[in-house]
Every structure is written in structure tokens, then in C-alpha cells.
């Protein structure tokens, strides 16, 4: 299995040094077992830089943002708006106004489905998603299609866990107004050809929204190179805090969209005769925002931007290769999702052993994985399953940790078979 496009001659990543930035990784659990954290697709651990920024914000700079004319309000605003500028750079967006802060990816997709969808979809129109999608990139579209009379269409996935592009092309006709697709599958690790899909969508006259929840942690994204119309991401999956995310949207699209929620900074003026709404991005940021979250997300972007990404990509590819090799050699373990382009996410089942029982044993032996449908019930059903065990590695994991994972799985099999 080949991996993403990394440079094999890149300077090796100093993982030991990197791990020292993440205090949680040093934990021991259950009778002094060294924690092996392999649930990064659910949420990532946070570097000291992010933790310290949030701590310092609340100790020294806490105030509400935007309209206060006092020092603390200005400092809080600088932290929050500074993060917006940093996200613009991380995504290579053309304009800072194209960065809308949300609660996360789910909130961002719901924003587009509600604000763009209700204004632009009607009976006879279609929204095209894929079988790989997370529920957060399915249910908002189901809701808006039900409300508008539009139809939801689903492109197939292959047995390897890749989007069937021929099937996607066949379903991409003039009725499709928007294609919504994940950048990377949270359940299988498949890296989707989003640039190619965006091109196909645009050629058919459709917009494209990319669920970037799993994409953003793997390095700076170039939304203009992809030509995404919308790109949604979560702060907590890219080494930032929970409760904050970003919707990138092309400015002309955002400017044409009605508000999503009312109140707070999304207004210019309010009267009982009528309310004038603010311009993007504030039009879509009702209420007091997660200011500390913004500051923390900005710190996460600073941290990520300073990293050696060629080295990280090479390291993640090595994790993928090593993990795939060790796991596929285990009798009775079946890997689900064997795409040619993947990140180190390993979904698997064990013959005759319930994922619940296996994960319980793994936890007692220090290894943190996730079981269940991973918010992808249709995808699980496609593979004849209701759940898998998922180990998801990040840049701070090591091949030695994947060896621990493999060894503990074999131990669990002996205990539970």
C-alpha cells in the first residue's frame, strides 16, 4: 500500500522532542501503564503552547471582544481576530473575511446547509455526498433536502474504501447544486481526491463543500488550490481547543448568504422596523464567541506552522506503513479500508471478538482506541459491519507505540478467544 505524497529524503522528525510538547502523552494509566494514545481522529492532544495561551488568556486578557474600548477588550479582540488572520494563512484563503469561526465542523456544515441551502435549493435540485461521509456531512443535508424538496444522492465507495469516481461522475448532473465530500475519511483514513472532485463539481455547475475535520491536522491546506467553495474544520482535531472551528467560504458566496443565527455581532443595527445584518464573517458569528478558543486555535496554528511538514508527512507515512504491516500480519484481524492514499488510521475487526471486549482489554493495558460506528453508520453497513475498532495515529505517535498496539491486540485475542 502506498501512502500520501511525502518526500522520503526529508530530515527525520524528532518525535521525542515533539512529544515533549504534549504533556498528556506522558501519562500513565491503570497501574502505571504508559498511555499509548491512538484516538487522534476523535480528538488530538494539545501542546503546551495552546494550553499556556488559554491559561494566559483567562489569567490576563479576559474580556468580551469587539465593541469594548478598554485595554482588556482590545487584547481579547487582538487574540481572537489574530487567530482569524492565522487561519486565513493556514488555509491560504484570499481574504480574512472568508474565515468564519464556528463551534466546529458539524456547526460549519450545518451553517452552510441552513443558510446557503435554504436560499438556494428547491424541488428538483440535488445534493451529492458519498458513502464515506461522517454523519455531520449527511444529516444536515438530509434536513435541508427535506425542508426544500431537494434530493440527496450518494456516490458509492469501493471495497478498498475509496470513493468510486465513476459512480460520482455518473451522478453529477445539472441537477446537482452542491457536492459535499470529506477530505479524509475519519473511519478508514482514505485521502479523497478533493481537488479532482471540486473540478468535476464545478464543470457540472455545482459548488463543493469539503469536510476538512480530518484534513486540517495533517498540515496547511490550500483551499484556493483545491478550489473549495466551502471548507469546514474543527480546532480540537488540529491540536487546538474544543468548541471552536472554522468555515472557510468564498467571499462572494458568504456575502450572498442570509444569516444562520440572530443576535450579537451579526447585526449592524436593530430596530423593531427591521434589522440590518453585518457583513461576513460576522454575519455568521452570532453571540459572544469562544474567545479563549479562538486564542487557543491561533496558538495551535502558530505551533503547526512552525513545524517541519515534509518531515511530519514522512513520519506519518512511516506510521501508516508500519501499522498496516504489523496489523495485517495478525491472524484473525481484518483491516477495513485499504485505500492507496491514506493517513495512519486503522479500522479493523477481530474474528470472534466483540470490539467492546477488545477495547476494554486494550484500555487496561494502556492503549486508547475507539470502537463503534465512528458516526459513519452507512459506511459500516456498506462493509457488512455495525462497528469497528479504530486506532488513529498522529504526528506525535511512534512506530514503537504501534508495536505495542499490535502486541496488545494479540494478547487480547488470547484472553478473549
Amino acid at each position: 500500500m502506498t501512502t500520501s505524497t511525502s518526500n522520503p529524503t526529508a530530515t527525520p522528525l524528532d518525535v521525542v522532542n515533539l512529544r515533549a510538547d504534549f504533556p498528556t502523552l506522558a501519562r500513565t494509566i491503570h497501574d502505571e501503564k504508559q498511555l499509548v494514545y491512538l484516538d487522534n481522529a476523535a480528538t488530538s492532544q494539545k501542546p503546551n503552547a495552546v494550553i499556556d495561551t488559554i491559561d494566559r488568556y483567562y489569567r490576563e486578557h479576559n474580556a468580551n471582544v469587539h465593541r469594548g474600548i478598554h485595554t482588556l477588550a482590545e487584547e481579547a479582540t487582538a487574540a481572537y481576530e489574530g487567530a482569524r488572520a492565522k487561519m486565513q494563512a493556514y488555509l491560504n484563503a484570499a481574504d480574512e473575511r472568508e474565515i468564519v469561526f464556528t463551534k466546529g465542523t458539524t456547526d460549519a456544515i450545518n451553517l452552510v446547509a441552513s443558510a446557503w441551502g435554504r436560499a438556494n435549493l428547491s424541488a428538483g435540485d440535488r445534493v451529492l455526498i458519498t458513502h464515506l461521509e461522517h454523519h455531520s456531512n449527511i444529516v444536515p443535508w438530509q434536513l435541508v433536502c427535506e425542508a426544500t424538496g431537494a434530493q440527496l444522492v450518494v456516490a458509492d465507495v469501493t471495497d478498498a474504501g475509496e470513493i468510486d469516481l465513476n459512480d460520482l461522475r455518473s451522478k453529477l448532473d445539472e441537477r446537482v447544486k452542491l457536492v459535499a465530500v470529506s477530505h479524509i475519511s475519519n473511519a478508514l483514513g482514505t485521502i479523497n481526491p478533493v481537488k479532482q472532485i471540486a473540478k468535476l463539481a464545478h464543470e457540472a455547475g455545482a459548488l463543493v463543500l469539503i469536510d476538512g475535520a480530518q484534513g486540517a491536522p495533517h498540515g496547511p491546506i490550500d483551499v484556493r488550490d483545491i478550489d473549495a467553495d466551502f471548507y469546514a474544520l474543527s480546532g480540537h482535531k488540529m491540536y487546538g481547543p474544543t468548541g471552536i472551528g472554522v468555515l472557510y467560504g468564498k467571499l462572494d458566496l458568504l456575502a450572498a448568504m442570509p444569516p444562520y443565527q440572530g443576535g450579537g455581532d451579526m447585526i449592524k443595527s436593530v430596530s423593531f422596523d427591521g434589522t440590518e445584518f453585518n457583513d461576513p464573517p460576522y454575519r455568521f458569528e452570532a453571540g459572544t464567541p469562544h474567545i479563549a478558543g479562538g486564542a487557543g486555535l491561533g496558538a495551535a496554528v502558530d505551533y503547526l506552522t512552525a513545524l517541519d511538514w515534509p518531515a511530519i508527512r514522512a513520519h506519518e507515512d512511516a506510521l501508516l506503513a508500519h501499522g498496516s504491516s504489523r496489523l495485517s500480519a495478525i491472524d484473525g484481524l481484518r483491516l477495513i479500508g485499504t485505500a492507496s492514499q491514506k493517513v495512519p488510521i486503522f479500522s479493523f475487526v477481530l474474528d470472534g471478538i466483540a470490539p467492546y471486549d477488545a477495547s476494554h482489554v486494550l484500555d487496561r493495558l494502556g492503549v486508547a482506541v475507539r470502537i463503534g460506528h465512528h458516526c459513519t453508520e452507512p459506511l459500516m453497513k456498506r462493509f457488512g459491519l455495525t462497528e469497528t475498532i479504530r486506532a488513529s495515529a498522529a504526528m506525535y505517535n511512534t512506530v514503537e507505540e504501534l508495536d505495542v498496539l499490535a502486541d496488545v491486540i494479540v494478547k487480547a485475542q488470547r484472553m478473549l478467544a
Partner: protein, 146 residues
């Protein structure tokens, strides 16, 4: 549905739980390599959508059987061995009790005495908390209809 061979618990569960037809489940009981004779009597009626205990990481089915003396026996099964063990504990606590006695039972205290608290927090979502909630609701509903 041709299962072809005897299957271990987790796999048999996955293949049969969507059947939702007692006759189909009954026809495949011999392929289940873990079920006791008691399980075989109760499984065909257990795999109904109404009996699914939602909010669990493991898949748990539970249904009450009421006796003429107003006592309750619970049939329950999960797709995970650890949770089937917890089911055995739950049945020990509640089987043979009347609905009022069930409502009067401090299950949390019993679980704590058995040092099974790690299985009872909602965040664990292993079925024990959901089972206890369902059993409590069954008892309450029976009280209200009696």
C-alpha cells in the same frame, strides 16, 4: 440466511440482530456456539427493535417477563462478553422482584459494593447504566398500569 457454520458470539450477533423475525432467529440458534439452552428459549423474542437498549457502546437487548405473582424476570443479551457478565449481575439484582421492589432497590449502592462503578458512569456507555435506566422505566410503567 445461510450462516454455514457455528459462529462466535460477536459475529452471530452482528449477523442475526437485524433479522427482527423470531422465526429467522429460531432457525439459526444451532449456529450460535455460545448460547445456553435458556438463551435459545429467549433469543427469538429478544431481537426486536423495541428491546434494544439504546445509548450503549455494546449492543444490548432486554425484555421483561411478568409472572402471575407480579414478579419480573429479565431476558437480556449483549454482543460483548464483558457486558453479558454485567447482565448476569443485573439479573441477580432484579430477577424475581416486583416492580415496587425494583423501584426500591438501590442498584447504584450494590454496584458500588461490587466495585463495578467504572461500568456505571454514563460516559462509559457500556450498557449497564442504560440497562438500569430501562429496568427502572419498565418497573415504573408497570406500576402505573397496575
Amino acid at each position: 440466511m445461510d450462516l454455514g457454520r457455528k459462529l462466535p458470539l460477536a459475529e452471530w450477533f452482528t449477523r442475526l440482530q437485524s433479522a427482527a423475525d423470531p422465526a429467522v432467529v429460531a432457525a439459526h440458534l444451532d449456529t450460535c456456539d455460545w448460547a445456553t439452552e435458556q438463551h435459545k428459549q429467549t433469543l427469538p423474542l429478544l431481537f426486536a427493535p423495541d428491546n434494544l437498549v439504546k445509548g450503549c457502546q455494546a449492543t444490548v437487548y432486554l425484555r421483561p417477563r411478568f409472572g402471575d405473582d407480579n414478579t419480573v424476570t429479565f431476558d437480556a443479551v449483549a454482543n460483548a462478553g464483558i457486558v453479558n457478565g454485567l447482565i448476569a449481575v443485573v439479573k441477580t439484582i432484579f430477577d424475581g422482584k416486583t416492580p415496587q421492589a425494583i423501584l426500591d432497590t438501590d442498584a447504584q449502592s450494590i454496584i458500588a459494593q461490587l466495585k463495578l462503578e467504572q461500568h456505571i458512569s454514563p460516559t462509559r456507555r457500556n450498557g449497564l447504566h442504560a440497562m438500569l435506566t430501562r429496568i427502572h422505566q419498565i418497573a415504573q410503567d408497570k406500576q402505573q398500569t397496575s
